[in-house]
Amino acid sequence: MKPKIGIFSLTSCEGCSLAILELENELLDILGAVEIVNFREGMTERSWDIDIGFVDGAVSTPEDEKEARLFREHCKVLVAIGACACLGGLNTLKNYQNEADYRSYVYGNRAGWFPTIPARPLSAVVKVDFELPGCPMIKEEFLEFVKLTLAGRTFRLPEYAVCVECKRKGNLCLYEKGVICLGPVTRAGCDAICPSFGSKCEGCRGIVTEEAVRAAGVNLREQYNVSLDDVMADLRLFGAYQEAKLP
C-alpha cells in the first residue's frame, strides 16, 4: 500500500508546498512511491483518508485553528513544513504591534471584516509529529524525510549550528567582514545557503539550543561590541515565537 499524502496550507506564501514541486528530478519517483490524495494547489480531487499530512503556514486566524484540528484528526502523521508552520515565521512580527493598530493600518474602518489572532506555529495548536523548518523548507530535507519514512526509519533534524555546514564549505566567516550573522545559533540542515551566497543567516530554521544563544550573546557583546537590540531584531524576523534570552 502506498502511503496516502495530503499537502495543506494555512497562513503562508505556499512556497513550501511549491518547494515540493521544485524537486523536478525526483518528482515522478515520489509520485510513484506515494499517493497524493489531497493537495488544493495542485489537484481537484480531495480525500480525507490520509497517512501523512504536510502543512505549511502559521495559525493566524480562527479558521486556521479549525483547519489545524481538522488536519490533525484526519492525518495519522502530521508534519509542519517551513518556518511559518514550525516557528510562526514572519507572521509573528505582527504580534509585536498593537492588534487594533495593525488591523486598521491595513483595512481601515473595515478591519472587522477580516478576523485575525496572534500568529502561532502549528505545534501551539495541535500535536505535531515532525518539523521540516526553513524559509522555504529545504526540499532536500523533505526528500530525506520521505525516503526514511518509506523505509520505516525515523527522520531527525541536525542538532548543530549552521556554522558547521558553513565551515565545511570553506566560506569566509561573515563576522570577519563585520556582518552579524545568526549562523552560530541557528539549526543546520540548509547547507548554509545564505552565507554561501554572501548573505547573513537570518535564523529561519530556528534556534538550535538556548546555550548557543547565550554563548553567541556573550561573544557579540564582548568581542564584537554589537548592540543586542539589533541582534534581537534579527532573531525576531522568523523566530519571534521562540523563547531565547540574550545574556
Binding site: 512556497g15 523536478e24 495542485g42 480531487e45 483595512y107 554572501g198
Partner: protein
C-alpha cells in the same frame, strides 16, 4: 461542494439531440478553487435568468505585511516582502529593491541590472511553465491534476519538468534559489555566478527551444474557450521600444496610451475594499476593471517580443489586441519563448563584459520610493517611506492578482448569461468558470492586501 438547483430540464420530443434550453435557475458554489495559488471561492446565483449574486471570494488569511514592515530596517524589505508569495518571490524582490533604491538614492550598476533581468526571466519561465502545464492544462485533458498525465502523457510531463528545472537553475545560479532568493539586495548582489555556470545555462536554454516548440505544438491543439470582452489592459511599457517590459518602463494601457511614471501609480490604479475579498479590488480612471498579466503585456508590447516569440504567437493564433482572457495562458507560452531568447542574450552580454564581484552600493538618503516590475501575473507596485534612521514607517504593496479580481468578476457577468443561454449543465458551467479563474493564474497568497494610505 457545489450544490445545484436546476429546473426546466430539457426534454427531447422527437428523439433528436435536443438543443438544450436556457437554464433559468442555478446556484454555483465552489469552496476553494483548486489548482490556483491560495484560497478563493466562486459564488454565482441565478434566479429567473437574472444574476442575483456573482462573487469571486478571496478567503485567504489576511497577513498584514504592510503593517509589520513598519519599524524594520530598509535593507530588510526585499527579504521580508519576497515572503508575500512563494511563486513570485523574485518578482517581489525585484519591485522591492527598486522601491528601496528609489527611496535611498541608490543607483545599481549595469552588471546588477543585467543579473536582475536574468533572475527575473528565470522566474517568469518557471511560473508560466508551472501554470500552463501543471495547473491549467489538466482541464483540457479532463484530469483533476497533472498526476494522471504523468502516466498517460509521460513525455509532456517530463518535458515540462525539464523546462521548470532549467528555470529554477537560472534563479539558483543568480539568486541562490528560486523561492526567496538570497543574493539579490538593494544596491546589488552579494554573489555573482561563475562564467562556466552561465555557459552551461546558455547551452540548456538553447536546447530548451525544441521543448518549448513541442509544448506550443501540443497547446495549439487544445480547445481554448471562445469568449471575448473589450477591456483595458494595463502594463509597463519601455517607451523607446528597446525592450519588452518586465523590469522597467512606464504605465501604459490600450485605453490611455499616454505613459504615466511609476511613481504616479495612484493616478492609474484606484483601490477599493470589498467585503467578500480579503484582497482589495482595483479600477482605473478609464474603466471599472482592467486586466494585468501576460495578455496585457502581450497586447501592449507585442512589437518588442523576440521574433521567435512572435512566430509562436502566430502559430497559436493570437495577435494584439486579443480580448479573450482564456488566451492569457497562450500569452504565457509566448512569453516563455521570449524569456528564453532574452536570457540567452543577457548571458552573452554578461560573459562579454566579464563578471565581477562588486560591493553593494550604499544609500545616500532616506525618503520615499516606489518600485514596480511586471511580474508573471502582472504589474506589481511596492512603495516605502523611510525615516531618518532608514527604518520603514509606511509601506504599500499593490499586487497583480488584486488588480485582476474585479476584471474576473466582470468577465463572469458577461459569460454567465452566455453559458445559461447555451443550456450548459451546472457542472459544465462550474468547470468553465473555474477555468476562467485559472486562466488568470491568480496568486491569492499575494492578493491579500490592504489599505491605501494617504501620506503627507
Amino acid at each position: 461542494m457545489a450544490d445545484v438547483k436546476q429546473q426546466n430540464k430539457p426534454k427531447s420530443s422527437d428523439g433528436a439531440p435536443p438543443r438544450r434550453a436556457a437554464v433559468k435557475n442555478v446556484t454555483i458554489d465552489v469552496k476553494h478553487v483548486t489548482r490556483v495559488e491560495g484560497h478563493g471561492n466562486i459564488v454565482v446565483r441565478v434566479s429567473d435568468g437574472a444574476i442575483t449574486q456573482l462573487e469571486l471570494q478571496i478567503v485567504e488569511s489576511p497577513r498584514f505585511f504592510e503593517a509589520f514592515l513598519r519599524g524594520r530596517r530598509w535593507y530588510e524589505a526585499p527579504h521580508i516582502t519576497c515572503r508575500v508569495c512563494g511563486i513570485c518571490s523574485v518578482g517581489h524582490t525585484t519591485a522591492s529593491v527598486k522601491a528601496i533604491e528609489a527611496a535611498t538614492g541608490i543607483v545599481p550598476t549595469e552588471q546588477t541590472v543585467l543579473l536582475r533581468k536574468l533572475l527575473f526571466n528565470g522566474e517568469q519561465l518557471q511560473s508560466h511553465v508551472l501554470h500552463v502545464c501543471f495547473l491549467a492544462v489538466p482541464d483540457f485533458f479532463g484530469a483533476g491534476s497533472v498526476i494522471p498525465l504523468a502516466s498517460t502523457h509521460p513525455d509532456v510531463v517530463k518535458r515540462a519538468l525539464k523546462l521548470k528545472r532549467l528555470a529554477n537553475d537560472i534563479c539558483g545560479a543568480v539568486g541562490g534559489r528560486h523561492i526567496h532568493p538570497v543574493a539579490c539586495h538593494a544596491g546589488g548582489f552579494t554573489h555573482v555566478p561563475r562564467p562556466e555556470e552561465l555557459v552551461a545555462l546558455k547551452r540548456r536554454l538553447e536546447e530548451s527551444r525544441s521543448d518549448l516548440g513541442e509544448m506550443a505544438q501540443l497547446y495549439s491543439c487544445l480547445p481554448i474557450p471562445d469568449f471575448r470582452r473589450d477591456m483595458e489592459f494595463l502594463s509597463l511599457k519601455v517607451m523607446d521600444g528597446s525592450e519588452y517590459a518586465f523590469y522597467d518602463g512606464k504605465l501604459y494601457s490600450n485605453l490611455q496610451p499616454e505613459p504615466t511614471e511609476v511613481s504616479e501609480y495612484r493616478r492609474r490604479v484606484i483601490e477599493d475594499v470589498v467585503q467578500h475579498s480579503a484582497a482589495k479590488h482595483c479600477k482605473s480612471p478609464n474603466a471599472p476593471a482592467y486586466m494585468v498579466g501576460s495578455l496585457a503585456r502581450f497586447n501592449n508590447n507585442f512589437d518588442q517580443l523576440h521574433p521567435n516569440a512572435k512566430e509562436v504567437a502566430a502559430a497559436l493564433g493570437i495577435k494584439p489586441i486579443c480580448t479573450n482572457p482564456f488566451h492569457n495562458n497562450t500569452a504565457q507560452l509566448v512569453e516563455c519563448v521570449h524569456c528564453t531568447e532574452h536570457s540567452i542574450e543577457l548571458i552573452d552580454e554578461l560573459l562579454t563584459r566579464g563578471l565581477h564581484d562588486e560591493p553593494l552600493v550604499e544609500p545616500s538618503r532616506f525618503g520615499l520610493g516606489v518600485g514596480s516590475a511586471d511580474v508573471p501575473r502582472g504589474i506589481l507596485f511596492h512603495e516605502y517611506e523611510l525615516d531618518r534612521d532608514g527604518k520603514i514607517v509606511n509601506a504599500n504593496l499593490i499586487i497583480p492578482t488584486g488588480q485582476n479580481l474585479a476584471n474576473i468578476e466582470a468577465d463572469m457577468r458577461v459569460m454567465v448569461p452566455q453559458l445559461l443561454e447555451s443550456g450548459m449543465t451546472r457542472e459544465e458551467m462550474t468547470l468553465r468558470l473555474e477555468m476562467l479563474v485559472r486562466a488568470y493564474d491568480p496568486c491569492i497568497s499575494c492578493a491579500t492586501h490592504f489599505l491605501d494610505i494617504e501620506w503627507e
